[in-house]
């Protein structure tokens, strides 16, 4: 597992954030992620019937963390191949954001999307099977780690072109507007995407047409190996977004409550017809960009410093201090996550391969086939 360190005395606080810590309020709709029967039983045994939001946030961060740690291990074992981009350290962003969205909202994500897919309700079995390249995967083994899809949950990938998802989000929101559907399309991307033309074109279109797009920038400070200040003339990302007359929000992306609160407010504004909004979540990835990255461009001390602010241990520490969490409950959540991961790994291992005879399937839509969950 990736260790998070307890904060040391004198460690510099992160840049100040506009958002205030969230009040203990319930997620508007946020369908709880689908879990295995075993997992559900484990949680039920340890936790109350409907755990409060804080505990669900914590449990979901743990699920992402344990799943990805297993992915790294399986990559080493050769079970998962291709590119694998881990989210370890950034879990508060996906967790706060996905809980702040409603079930009917659309999500377009990036190639670092395992956590977003999981919390959108894609089963860990289907995600793990996809990583293995199995037919039971959420993209039938055609996509892999970077292209997790579940259109029935309005999760439109898994996009491996930096900035590639932004115009798609604009189009999904345009379709909603033209069809009179009140819904938010959340588009997740990294700060690296903000140097792409697609970002500027999408912001302009969304603002020009007042489309219900929620632009969620997970600023982990490095576009692969290039630091923010080495790739952007304007490093204040909200200022950059604001130039398109878009409402901007900023939150500490290591603090899941701050993320939830901020994204909830931004989403509410978008949903109410206020046009697009931009949220910057300031975060950090603890691991390398991908499994091929030797991580030579960052100071080890910098990584250690951010690990001290790890989203799981800092949030669980807060909850304990607030009397909302006991160590037993934490261990129960962790055990449930581990059990879910073990079951998903078994499922993926045992799932059959798609026959090579089906290689050419789904290049085109067969006559009479479903064209997608959007209709």
């Amino acid at each position: 597992m990736t260790r998070e360190r307890k904060p040391a005395v004198g460690v510099q606080a992160p840049p100040p954030c506009k958002s205030k810590p969230a009040q203990a309020k319930h997620s508007p709709v946020a369908a709880p992620a689908k879990r295995t029967r075993k997992d559900r039983a484990a949680v039920a045994a340890a936790a109350p019937e409907t755990p409060p939001l804080e505990l669900r946030l914590l449990a979901d961060m743990l699920r992402i963390r344990r799943m990805e740690e297993k992915c790294a291990e399986l990559y080493g074992a050769g079970k998962i191949r291709g590119f694998l981009h881990l989210y370890i350290g950034e879990e508060a962003c996906a967790t706060g954001t996905m809980h702040a969205l409603a079930a009917e909202d659309s999500v377009v994500a990036t190639y670092r999307e395992h956590g977003h897919a999981l919390l959108r309700g894609v089963s860990m079995d289907a995600i793990m099977a996809e990583m293995f390249g199995k037919a039971a995967g959420c993209s039938r083994g055609r996509g892999g780690s970077m292209h997790l899809f579940d259109v029935s949950r309005r999760f439109y990938g898994g996009n491996a072109i930096v900035g590639g998802g932004l115009p798609l989000a604009v189009g999904l929101a345009l379709a909603d507007m033209l069809q009179g559907v009140r819904r938010v399309t959340a588009c997740v991307f990294g700060e690296g995407a903000m140097a792409e033309g697609a970002f500027h074109e999408s912001m302009n279109l969304a603002a020009l047409w007042q489309l219900p797009v929620l632009f969620c920038c997970e600023n982990n400070l490095y576009a692969m190996g290039t630091a923010l200040a080495r790739s952007e003339s304007q490093t204040d990302l909200c200022a950059k977004a604001a130039s398109y007359k878009v409402a901007t929000f900023r939150a500490d992306g290591m603090d899941v409550r701050a993320v939830f609160d901020t994204v909830s407010r931004a989403a509410q504004q978008v949903r109410a017809g206020g046009g697009p909004a931009f949220v910057e979540l300031q975060t950090y990835r603890f691991r390398a960009h991908s499994m091929f990255d030797p991580d030579l461009y960052r100071d080890k001390a910098e990584i250690e410093q951010w690990k001290q602010r790890g989203p799981i241990h800092s949030f669980s520490g807060q909850l304990k201090a607030e009397g909302l969490l006991t160590e037993e409950l934490f261990l129960a959540f962790d055990a449930a996550a581990a059990a879910e991961v073990a079951a998903a790994t078994d499922f993926a291992e045992q799932a059959p391969w798609e026959p090579v005879a089906d290689l050419l399937k789904d290049v085109h839509t067969p006559a009479g086939a479903d064209e997608g969950g959007a209709r």
């Binding site: 055609r142 439109y156 345009l174 379709a175």
Partner: protein, 323 residues
Amino acid sequence: MRISYREAMRQALREAMANDARVFLMGEDVGRYGGSYAVSKGLLEEFGPERIRDTPLSELGFVGAGVGAALGGLRPIVEVMTVNFSLLALDQIVNSASLLRHMSGGQCSVPLVLRMATGAGRQLAAQHSHSLENWYAHIPGIRVLAPATVADARGMLAPALADPDPVVIFEHAQLYNLEGELADDWRCDIARAAVRRPGTQASVFAYGGCLPKALQAADELAAAGIDVEVVDLRVLRPLDIDTIAASVRRTHRALVVDEGWRSGSLAAEVIARIVETCFYDLDAPPARVCSEEVPIPYAKHLEDAALPQPAKIVAAVKELLNV
């Protein structure tokens, strides 16, 4: 009814908009300006700015938005002013539209129609004279059409919109003023090539802006006593090899005319398919007339020399027949 290619296309758009509320047209200057080639003139007044949607000069953004709108349940027609500017949107066409169905394991289709003008011949110089149909015809997951007659201009849009997958329609800029008789039964498929002029001594395959040139060459050859068949490829992906091979089996000689550059051209693909499919039916090596391998120049005499012309087609047929 005598009608122009432009008017045929406009009628097709109007019919599509009127028949299906999911259809909308989006692109640069399609609304208030009336379309840079005046194809959508009058449609803004008829259907309003929501459905005849002017966009900023933002090809990547609005083509990608078309893909997203298609995912979201609509039937967008996205007009990219010309193929030259489509290069700015290539990422969304190649990395999103064509891939999404397969990459998602068949979960979503992208029922998007992309229209764009293509081709040279109007002294617009190198950056406004590309013929890159074969780039798009290389990509699995999309269908590529090249209407070259008023009937196809009128008839291809409806089946393109009915196709649940992305369709790219190339309208050769030299054809908009073309006039022709529109028969009552103009409805057509988007699967088959079409024999536009039957003949016996050689098959000339052409598409888009080269079709009228091939037909003119065929007239000149007929005057010289040479009877050639002219086949309009129409559908550039997937190629209708059955119609192509049937023609070769009748005439035993094949010439492909293509405004694209010779190297890696669509003509190269057509000839490869002919050789793979009916090599032993051939009485002569297949030949092609393509654009010269030079950026298309501005000066008229140089531009003319760079492009396929009826005289070049006539000469190539004669060489093929060894006359």
